[in-house]
């Protein structure tokens, strides 16, 4: 006994220490459970194909008997795929060895003997969570048709079709919606069950004793009640006595009420949930990308920034607290989520530690912007935060909170207005450069290794021919910070790879230079 315990424990510790075991488990988990894992869709596709094949075989088998080898294929291959999947899900649901270790460490702490039975019970309890889950039950039922002894079991192949729900996100969404209205639906279902019960019994009492040749037993009566209450009304069983007809009239009336009730509940729950479903989709889409920018606030400024980002090809997500604004962003074709950006949840869902590189706080409220900025920085210090602000004092506080860039629209406008007063021509130049309206623009070009500008003296470069004005060079740029700005460098300044040239020029001239890098 003691030896088994010892073996169990050392096995658990070996697993805990094994890198290989962990990486395999993570891989399997990602493949079957993690929606943001890129290869999961191939797995899903494969499973759907397997299911469709097995359902198709079932249908063909009805009239044309399929050859035995196909039946065997269905029996062994499909079943083994399903069983493997079931076991894999069971496996990755939780870590058994961790439970063993935990239990051991706990009893060691209390100086008690480890009871193998208790450990076993605990593991069972834990895994029972998986076994008793809705989808696991369906999975299990889908395996059953492989048992050929009972013909009825064949129909359970259709449960394999149910299994498809698992592999398509939108279908899961549908179930999710229904789950949300569980209480209302159950109430209505039990109510209609009650009516069917009463009406069925009444009809049986009135017409069951040979008055009506179609009603032979209680089942016929219940069948009739359901067909009537659901307003389907086949008419294969119809009441013939006046009492039976009175019962019919009554349940038809309640039937109409019930049906419209159920419909309205499902519809309303869908419209309530539609945005949530959509946002789930957004988060899923974003999960496949890297370097995401989050735009918080879709007001005047937010809109302009978004259209600018689209032009530059930056991937971004819009977050706004206001439902209408979030909807507007969605209508404009952006990824949008209606959420409170000053809370951590939404950023965690979007993957603040892995995917988000920049956050722009652009709401019209300074305090709100500061709130969002602090929220981001407290979640992940490395995310580059740009915040809009219209007050000098709040700007100082934002800088204190390590906001990387504080932007003041009023200051920019004020500065430009001041330039206009003294130097209207310079203002025009500025406006055209800043707003990028004209064909002449300012841009940056990074010098790549061994390109024609690498190791070249500024004096030797024919800027006239390139049709470009060079303002200056940033040197010693690393991944986080730009280096020193060398304005108008001398003729014997030697350019190196990694330098960033800031140039003014025609769009095509700049594009030409970039293409040569």
């Amino acid at each position: 006994m003691k030896q088994t315990k010892h073996k169990l424990l050392s096995f658990a510790y070996t697993l805990e220490a094994s890198r290989r075991y962990k990486s395999i488990k993570t891989f399997v988990y990602n493949l079957i459970e993690n929606d943001s894992y890129p290869y999961k869709k191939y797995f899903d596709f494969f499973m759907i194909m397997v299911i469709l094949t097995s359902v198709t075989l079932l249908v063909i088998d009805v009239k044309h008997h399929i050859p035995p080898w196909l039946d065997h294929l269905d029996l062994y291959l499909v079943t083994s795929v399903f069983i493997t999947e079931y076991i894999a899900r069971f496996w990755v649901y939780s870590d058994m060895h961790k439970i063993i270790i935990e239990e051991y460490e706990e009893s060691f702490y209390f100086e008690q003997e480890v009871s193998v039975f208790r450990v076993f019970l605990k593991i069972l309890k834990n895994k029972w969570g998986y076994i008793s889950s809705f989808s696991a039950i369906i999975d299990l039922i889908a395996i059953l048709p492989s048992y050929r002894g009972l013909r009825v079991l064949r129909i359970l192949v259709l449960f394999r079709a149910f299994k498809m729900l698992r592999y398509t996100k939108s279908l899961t969404g549908f179930l999710f919606v229904l789950k949300n209205k569980k209480f209302e639906l159950i109430t209505l279902l039990s109510l209609s069950g009650f009516f069917i019960f009463i009406a069925g019994i009444m009809l049986y009492v009135f017409e069951g004793d040979n008055d009506n040749p179609n009603i032979n037993n209680l089942f016929d009566a219940f069948y009739w009640a359901l067909i009537t209450i659901s307003t389907v009304g086949y008419g294969d069983i119809a009441p013939i006595t006046p009492e039976g007809r009175v019962v019919t009239m009554l349940i038809i009336l309640t039937g109409i009420g019930l049906i419209s009730f159920v419909t309205s509940i499902i519809v309303s729950s869908f419209s309530e949930r539609l945005s949530v479903l959509r946002e789930g989709r957004v988060i899923q889409d974003v999960g496949k990308k890297k370097n995401i920018t989050v735009v918080c606030g879709y007001g005047l400024l937010g809109r302009l920034v978004c259209s600018g980002l689209v032009k530059e090809g930056v991937e971004f997500v819009v977050i706004d607290k206001d439902e209408h604004l979030a909807q507007q962003a969605y209508n404009n074709g952006y990824h949008s989520i209606c959420a409170d950006a000053s809370q951590g949840d939404i950023f965690r869902e979007l993957g603040i530690n892995e995917r988000i590189s920049h956050v722009l706080c652009l709401t019209s409220d300074d305090i709100q912007n500061a709130f969002i900025a602090v929220n981001i920085k407290s979640l992940n210090e490395k995310v580059y935060v740009t915040a809009r602000c219209s007050d000098d004092e709040i700007a100082q506080k934002m800088e204190f909170a390590h906001v990387d860039h504080v932007i003041m629209p009023e200051e920019i406008a004020g500065m430009m207005g001041a330039v206009y007063a003294g130097e209207p021509v310079a203002f025009e130049v500025l406006l055209s450069i800043i707003e990028e309206k004209g064909k002449t623009q300012i841009d940056e070009i990074q010098i790549t290794k061994d390109s024609f500008l690498d190791n070249t003296k500024v004096g030797d470069i024919d800027f006239e021919k390139l049709k470009i004005i060079m303002l200056g060079v940033f040197r010693d740029t690393d991944s986080k910070n730009l280096g020193k700005f060398n304005f108008n460098p001398d003729n014997d300044f030697v350019l190196e790879s990694g330098d960033n040239l800031v140039c003014i020029g025609y769009i095509s001239a700049i594009a030409n230079l970039k293409s040569r890098m």
Binding site: E312, H358, V429, D443, I504
Partner: protein, 228 residues
């Protein structure tokens, strides 16, 4: 060149305008409408309060439409638009600059008669996008435009008999003087602003305007060179 400036509105835009304009040493008179908040009192700036709906009030400000610049920076767009409309009706030749907060309003303000409209968010949104996509450009603009360093952009109207008079652009050693010429208005070619990236070899005459970027002291030197 000191200018007489009337600044209408002292909200968040007006404040920033005042700050930047007074830094350049212009003569500023602040005018607000009666209902606007009183925060200028804290800043200790003399302020004239008028009812912008009444023509007499505006006329009583004694505006000289030839020399005064009128900045309209009311916080409420509707008020601003109304003000531009009124000023234009009263002073057909005045130089009116308005601040707008959207492309939509820019169109309306221009229609109402503003000579120049500064779009508050257009410039800001470009800047935000640039922070993400062109960090070097952002830094360079910060240093040149937003005066974070001694770099400056300036325009120079060429006087008579300057040393560059009659010379071609290529003949002048801008680089040696630490100056970058980025745009020019060549009177012989009309009043249009031309960027110099095309390298047209302009002939400089009196009355042409040069737009240059340079360090403060180089700019001073260059100006002295031109004007002596």
């Amino acid at each position: 060149m000191q200018k007489n400036i009337l600044l209408f509105g002292y909200g968040s835009f007006g404040k920033q305008l005042y700050k930047n304009l007074s830094k350049l040493g212009h003569n500023i008179k602040v005018v607000t409408s009666l209902e606007e908040s009183e925060n200028s009192i804290e800043d200790g700036i003399p302020i004239t309060k008028i009812n912008i709906k009444r023509n007499e009030d505006i006329l009583s400000l004694g505006i000289n439409e030839k020399s005064d610049m009128l900045y309209c920076s009311m916080n409420k767009t509707a008020n601003n638009l109304f003000l531009v409309l009124t000023l234009r009706a009263l002073f057909p030749k005045a130089n009116i600059i308005a601040i707008s907060n959207s492309f939509e309003n820019t169109r309306k303000l221009e229609y109402a008669g503003a000579n120049s409209v500064i779009d508050l968010y257009e410039a800001t949104s470009r800047r935000i996008v640039n922070i993400l996509t062109k960090p070097a450009v952002t830094r360079a603009l910060d240093e040149i435009v937003y005066n974070q360093n001694d770099l400056k952009m300036a325009e120079i109207l060429l006087p008579k008999n300057s040393p560059v008079d009659g010379k071609f652009v290529r003949e002048i050693e801008f680089k040696a003087m630490g100056v970058i010429l980025i745009a020019i208005i060549d009177k012989e070619l009309g009043h249009e602003l031309v960027f110099t990236d095309h390298r047209i070899n302009h002939k400089l005459d009196c009355g042409d305007t040069l737009v240059v970027v340079a360090k403060d002291n180089d700019l001073e030197k260059f100006k002295r060179y031109i004007f002596e």
